[in-house]
């Protein structure tokens, strides 16, 4: 998903230069030929299926309870009276808060680390983006052996350091601890992109601002607070938006690491249970529509409160 923030290059007619060799008074067919394949793909395999989803959210579609019929907002009413869904709403809210905060904080720290050129920086960037490039399915396998309560890495390290006297249970026992552990796995995957986005914003900060601050004898911390952070806002905004999208739709990590337990079940997991376990497809669609709406609203809120245009 792309957020075009006051783009200096809005895709409007004639942007990005002129047009080439257009003959007058005859329909120019070439652009239509060029965009035909794209149009076929987008209409046939994206817009039409999406249209179905939006429409079906307002129908009763239960193979066990035929026939299918229009039922207005009934699906949504049912969702809001469902205790499991309500518990998942709370969990998902915590996922979003933890995920967005952690990924943004980590990303700012990592971006500042990479802000100045130094020997080996490009290698470090390569290592940084590794977790982003890996298949999500494998993450659960990899991290499962870190949180494991019988032979996990974390327990082993903590007890070797004599910080704990017996192996702990990180997942499934306490709601907050469980969500934190699961969300860390997701942060691992989304933080690299956040870092790149913020790093790009940092690269735009003119060096003379730092030099001036230096002359004023400003401390590193106050320079960071007064110059780096405010000027990185555009990058931070986009980073937070992508984190919101990812965390609101979290599924793999809680499902693989914590099963269906209410300590960590997310909203997208409920869409799965409602659709495929309870065979209540209309409600499943309604819930995914709600998640989409929540994503848009949360993104707009971040835009409003975090984003400030930056002029150099």
């Amino acid at each position: 998903m792309t957020i075009s923030i006051r783009s200096r290059r809005r895709p409007t007619v004639g942007s990005g230069g002129g047009e080439l060799g257009r003959r007058r008074r005859r329909i120019d067919v070439l652009p239509y030929v060029l965009v035909t394949p794209l149009t076929l793909f987008i209409v046939g395999l994206a817009l039409i299926p999406a249209g179905f989803t939006v429409v079906e959210a307002f129908f009763r579609i239960q193979p066990l309870n035929p026939p299918d019929a229009f039922n207005g907002l009934e699906n949504f009413r049912q969702l809001f009276s469902n205790t499991a869904v309500k518990a998942s709403m709370g969990n998902t809210a915590i996922y979003v808060v933890i995920g967005v905060v952690l990924s943004t904080v980590f990303a700012i720290a990592m971006a500042v680390t990479l802000q100045k050129k130094f020997a080996g920086r490009s290698v470090l960037i390569a290592i940084l983006i590794l977790p982003w490039a890996l298949p999500g399915v494998v993450e659960g396998i990899v991290w499962g052996s870190i949180w494991d309560s019988n032979s996990g890495l974390l327990n082993s390290v903590l007890s070797s350091l004599h910080l704990i006297d017996h192996y702990m249970v990180f997942l499934g026992q306490h709601q907050l601890l469980t969500i934190l552990a699961i969300e860390l796995v997701q942060v691992w995957q989304i933080a690299p992109l956040s870092t790149l986005l913020i790093l790009a914003a940092l690269q735009n900060i003119p060096n003379d601002l730092y030099e001036a601050a230096n002359l004023d004898g400003s401390s590193a911390w106050s320079t960071f607070r007064r110059i780096t952070l405010p000027l990185a806002r555009p990058g931070v905004t986009i980073a937070m938006v992508q984190a919101i999208i990812a965390t609101l739709n979290v599924f793999d990590q809680p499902y693989i690491l914590n099963g269906a337990a209410s300590t960590g079940a997310s909203l997208t997991m409920q869409t799965y249970f409602i659709s495929f376990q309870n065979l209540n497809f209309g409600e499943g669609y309604a819930l995914s529509l709600l998640i989409t709406a929540a994503t848009l609203i949360a993104s707009l809120i971040v835009l409003k409160f975090v984003y400030r245009p930056v002029e150099f």
């Binding site: 299918d68 026992q173 992109l193 793999d252 309870n278």
Partner: protein, 440 residues
């Protein structure tokens, strides 16, 4: 933008049958007409385990002219596939898994062809004690290809080490023996209960409820576990207390059934699994590559209130989806696949070359007889006795709303185990779900 990782698991499973039915109305679904042809066709068989040996499949092809394309899909994904294909009326396999717990739902929805039209039902019923679990709305949805049931496994060596000479036959004895194993330090955590919120926790509770002398639901689907003196309530209390008093490892809050069997029971961490899977002795505990307790584990007739109790069955079945291309050929395959000779072979009666990896136990008594006659079944005598007296969780068949019910069972039992709710509240919540589902 990066949410473009389309296909984050499951979330994507938001499927719409209606989109389908609407579209189907417009463009007739695209399922091809079924063919009665058998010879010279290729059928797809989708199950959650590894295939039988290629040599066995080749022999089947030679005698019938039917080629088998085997597709291994994990259990959860397979249920999703079955639902997706059935609701969108599309072909995905000619024969596939019919889980005992989905029989009610799949039977009512007509997702599978009635098996009684393709096989000699009375003959099967006489030889397959668990066939009844696969009947719904008067039709046979599938045929059990193995006879899995829940059984108690004990590490005899650990029991002996703790000075227990006679094995327990009642729940009270069993519980005090476990406490003894703990207090003598033979095992800090002698009992395995898989408390992860998943199907394995539900089935464990059903078996424990059976042991306390009751059932979960009555014939009308009414919950039977709300009263504190009911079997289900006592079973849940016993399970949660076992965790709270440290009989069960604290980490088990997140351990699933197979995980617990592989990493706790097979590694000698625990001394017993109360509701274990029949066949684990031969396929897991006695296999040196996967177990460090070979020769120590045995099946124990499951303790009950005043003596041993019945074992709850959870057999795996195979059926023909309504969208199958070659139902006749699929039926031929199912007959072959569930024949007594093959079942004995798959379970190891005639050497490792004929074994189907991960196969539990024959679903036919005659298959089991062939297997025990060879003496190749670990714990065969006990299993045969138990199989004869094993009984389904739901005598009247699994209700159509079973998956939703089970979800309520395992999420609430899990919550009671974490202490975020009381056993009483968990029982009430599960009962409320069952009541509202059965009254619909």
């Amino acid at each position: 933008m990066i949410s473009m990782r389309i296909g984050r698991r499951g979330a994507a499973l938001i499927a719409s049958a209606a989109a389908l039915s609407l579209m189907a109305a417009g463009c007739s679904g695209g399922s091809t007409a079924a063919s009665t042809q058998t010879s010279g066709v290729t059928i797809t068989v989708a199950l959650f385990g590894a295939p039988p040996p290629q040599s066995s499949l080749d022999a089947f092809t030679k005698s019938t002219g039917i080629t088998v394309k085997w597709s291994t899909v994990d259990w959860d994904s397979l249920q999703t596939k079955i639902a997706a294909a059935a609701t969108s009326n599309t072909y995905f396999a000619d024969a596939t898994d019919v889980d005992w717990s989905r029989v009610g739902q799949e039977g009512k929805l007509g997702w599978f062809l009635p098996m009684e039209k393709y096989i000699d039902e009375p003959a099967y019923a006489a030889d397959m004690p668990q066939l009844d679990s696969f009947k719904s709305s008067g039709h046979l949805v599938g045929v059990p290809f193995d006879s899995s049931f829940l059984v108690t496994t004990v590490n005899k060596k650990m029991f002996a080490k703790a000075g227990i000479a006679t094995m327990p036959t009642t729940m009270d004895q069993y519980t005090s023996d476990l406490q003894k194993i703990k207090s003598t330090g033979v095992s800090q955590t002698p009992l395995n209960i898989p408390f992860a919120a998943a199907e394995g926790l539900s089935t464990y509770w059903y078996q424990t409820t059976e042991a306390f002398g009751g059932t979960v639901l009555d014939g009308q689907g009414k919950p039977q576990f709300e009263a504190p003196d009911s079997a289900g309530y006592k079973a849940a209390t016993w399970m949660v207390n076992a965790l709270k008093t440290g009989l069960v490892p604290a980490g088990n809050i997140n351990v699933s059934d197979s995980q617990g069997q592989q990493t706790l029971m097979a590694k000698g961490v625990v001394a017993s699994t109360f509701a274990d899977y029949s066949g684990n002795l031969g396929s897991l505990y006695e296999v040196p590559s996967s177990s460090s307790v070979a020769g120590q584990v045995e099946y124990l007739p499951t303790p009950g209130v005043s003596g041993t109790t019945a074992n709850v069955s959870n057999p795996d079945g195979i059926g023909i989806p309504k969208t199958a291309k070659y139902p006749q050929a699929a039926a031929k395959f199912i007959e072959w696949f569930t024949s007594a000779q093959n079942q004995a072979d798959f379970a190891g009666a005639n050497g490792p070359a004929k074994v189907m990896p991960g196969y539990f136990l024959p679903s036919r008594l005659s298959g089991l007889a062939k297997l025990t006659a060879k003496g190749n079944l670990v714990g065969g005598k006990e299993l045969t006795t138990m199989l004869k007296s094993s009984k389904p969780v739901f005598p009247d068949g699994a209700p159509t709303w079973y998956p939703q019910f089970s979800n309520a069972v395992y999420t609430n039992l899990h919550a009671a185990a974490t202490g975020s709710m009381t056993v009483d509240a968990a029982m009430k919540a599960i009962a409320a779900t069952a009541t509202s589902l059965s009254s619909k």
